[in-house]
Amino acid sequence: MSISRRKFLGWLGAAGMGTALGSTANAASNKHFSGYPDSVGVLHDISRCVGCRSCEAACNKVNELPPPDQPFTDLSVLDTKRRTTPEAHTVVNKHELAKTPVFNKIQCNHCLEPACASACFVSAFKKTAEGPVSYDASVCVGCRYCMVACPFEVPTYEYNKAFTPRVMKCTMCYPRIMEGKLPGCVEVCPKEALTFGKRDDLLKVARKRIEKHPDRYIDHIYGEKEMGGTSWLYLSDVPFADIGMREDLGVTSAPQLTAGALSGVPLVVGLWPVLLTGIYAMTKRKEKISQEETAEAVSLAIAETEEKGAEKLSAALKKAEKDKDMAIQKEVKKALEEVKKTFEEARTQEETQEEQKEEKA
């Protein structure tokens, strides 16, 4: 997997969308960070290590760690595979290979771009200008993301402390280095398997050794590029994978792995409100339009009904008037007739009375 694609995907991912192409995925664009000049490191020549555990003892003493269950002179400890613990910043493991046993020493590799520092949300880890990766327990919350992040499985945690648990790891004896002394393990190594010096010089030393003994060494300086490079470098006469050192870590540093996702964050903050407010405004406008349309339709319907109603009314009125006229005429006629009738009746009555008078007389 190429670096650029990984970064691109991460960036795309965090942005949560596929648009806005053309921006660069790398937080630092094309700027290259090559680490602090003159920072120190240690070269571990695995072919020279005899597994005496002196370095473990020195580390224990220098860091004032609790005494181990079995003394450091007991080499049977090497028979089981070990990793770093809160009580042991460095451990040596024995690997029974075809020819002879091979020993490798595990401790913090002091990455040039530390994954732990990249992961720490209180910035408790720091790549110092001198080389060691330092840890500040006074701000540590104890989330242990550094342990998840570390590709070399180095940091450990004091799980059994209730109130003051700390992340524990090798400091490259930072305080001693500042005093001008050697790291504890380097100072004590009887076989000069460990060489302390400026990282740049150590790389040259390592290359020279490979050049001088091409049949002896694997042509690879472990730590020169792994995960962006480490201050601790390794030379070996057997394949690194055979002695438990992962060769599949890649050369991409931790901050590069997260740069994409991190640069997506402000994009979401900048554009999501615009998008969401836009959708909201459109929804609201749609609602308003549909409301207006409904209102219009209703008023239109009302108007139509009113018009029709008016027509009907006037028709009804006309009809009523007509009916009324007719009724009046009818009534008048009827009344007239009645009057006529009454009048005639009255006249006949009068006539009869007169006839009767005449008869009496």
């Binding site: 989330c143 998840v148 590709p151």
Partner: protein, 398 residues
């Protein structure tokens, strides 16, 4: 007497003033007591006493389940409020309050659970007040979760304010709805995706089938599925236990919510399935499918993504509410499994099996304790405050 027996059978166990000794309450009580006991142990003896965490597995189920799954399952709040307030789906309005409440409780419990997991809980504000580790995705998550918890808290306040009768404060909180909804969606997009992005840092530890540059997108998209499914799931349970608390609107809209959310979940699941497959292709991880981890990956992909997608679709087409409800459970389970895969099961896949992590019973105890506390608080709130019904004083006020 008949009412008494109704209480005991647990059909309507939460009638105030009745006996508190229901089976549910007894079990919950035992869990809480055990939980408090483990809590004391945890904070007096340290993490080592109550967990199986070690230097290879610094994160256990308190992160994998309580944090990662918890945050995903609490996504119902932002999903529902976005649907109703931003996309204008007013017909789901009655789903907003329970969803926001579940979201708030979910996040509150996540933060509560974190106090158990981190070494020095009292230092949790340190990323903000001491030193800002801005290069950390965890800083981003912490900031967003803290802010979003505040947003959800304010979004939640109208219900208790109506309950208490504080009209003015309630109206101010309601006025902020739009702003809070948009903030909520922005913050949720960020931290849901950043939880996935936490693992971008560890390509050598997470199995290639789960490690992908798409991890943030996977987590964000699946949080929508989790949110939608949880709304259906939670509404099913609420209907079972709190039907007497639901008003007519809630009852009438409930079916529409299940159908609408089921449809949306099906669609999002289809998209999620697509990008998961694309994820295999872009990293050329096809050959891993033939391995043991590959088989497990396929179980997740087929059984917990493709299957719920299909079942939701059938449920929506046939208006089969029972199927939709059961599918919501399956989808929720799928998201939990995904988070556990990324954080625990496929994590440290290179280690020999004897070095793998399995939770201590007390870790499980605390997780169960925290879920129980959530259910108890939810019950306390919905039996008192206008969550599943509208307060008579504020009808039609939206």
């Amino acid at each position: 007497m008949s009412e008494e027996s109704a209480v005991v059978t647990g059909k309507k166990p939460f009638v105030p003033g009745k006996s508190l000794l229901t089976p549910f309450n007894i079990i919950a009580g035992i869990i809480v007591i055990v939980g408090l006991f483990i809590t004391v142990l945890r904070f007096t003896k340290g993490l080592g006493t109550v967990t199986n965490l070690d230097d290879n597995y610094p994160w256990g189920i308190w992160i994998g389940f309580d944090l990662l799954a918890g945050v995903a399952l609490a996504a119902g709040g932002y999903v529902t409020s976005a649907a109703v307030y931003i996309f204008g789906m007013k017909r789901f309005h009655s789903a907003v309050r329970p969803a926001i409440l579940t979201g708030f409780l979910g996040y509150a419990l996540v933060v509560f659970a974190l106090h158990y997991d981190v070494g020095r809980a009292w230092r949790l504000p340190y990323p903000f007040i001491m030193q800002q580790g801005t290069t950390s995705l965890l800083f981003e998550v912490a900031a967003c979760v803290a802010l979003y918890l505040t947003v959800l808290f304010i979004e939640c306040t109208p219900a208790p304010l109506e309950w208490l009768g504080f009209k003015k404060a309630r109206n101010i909180a309601v006025k902020l709805t739009m702003l809070l909804t948009i903030f909520g969606v922005v913050l949720s997009t960020l931290h849901q995706s950043s939880l996935g992005a936490l693992f971008l840092l560890a390509p050598s530890k997470l199995h290639p089938l789960w490690y992908s540059g798409y991890l943030p997108v996977f987590f964000f998209v699946s949080s929508i599925i989790a949110g939608l499914s949880m709304v259906i799931f939670e509404s099913t349970l609420s209907h079972h236990y709190f039907a007497d608390k639901m008003d007519e609107t809630h009852m009438n809209e409930k079916e529409g919510v299940a159908l609408g959310f089921g449809k949306a979940a099906s669609l999002v699941l289809a998209g999620y399935f697509s990008i998961k497959v694309i994820g295999i292709a872009v990293d050329n991880n096809w050959h891993y499918l033939a391995t043991g981890y590959g088989a497990w990956f396929l179980v997740e992909l087929i059984g917990f993504i493709a299957l719920p997608c299909l079942l939701y679709a059938v449920g929506v087409r046939e208006k089969n509410l029972t199927l939709i409800k059961w599918t919501s459970g399956l989808a929720v389970l799928g998201i939990i499994i995904n988070r556990l895969n990324v954080c625990l099961i496929a994590f440290n896949w290179h280690l020999p099996s004897e070095d793998k992590y399995f939770p201590h019973w007390m870790e499980i105890g605390i997780s169960v304790f925290i879920v129980t506390v959530g259910i108890l608080v939810f019950r306390f709130v919905v039996t008192r405050m206008p969550i599943l019904y509208e307060h008579p004083d504020y009808k039609d006020s939206h």
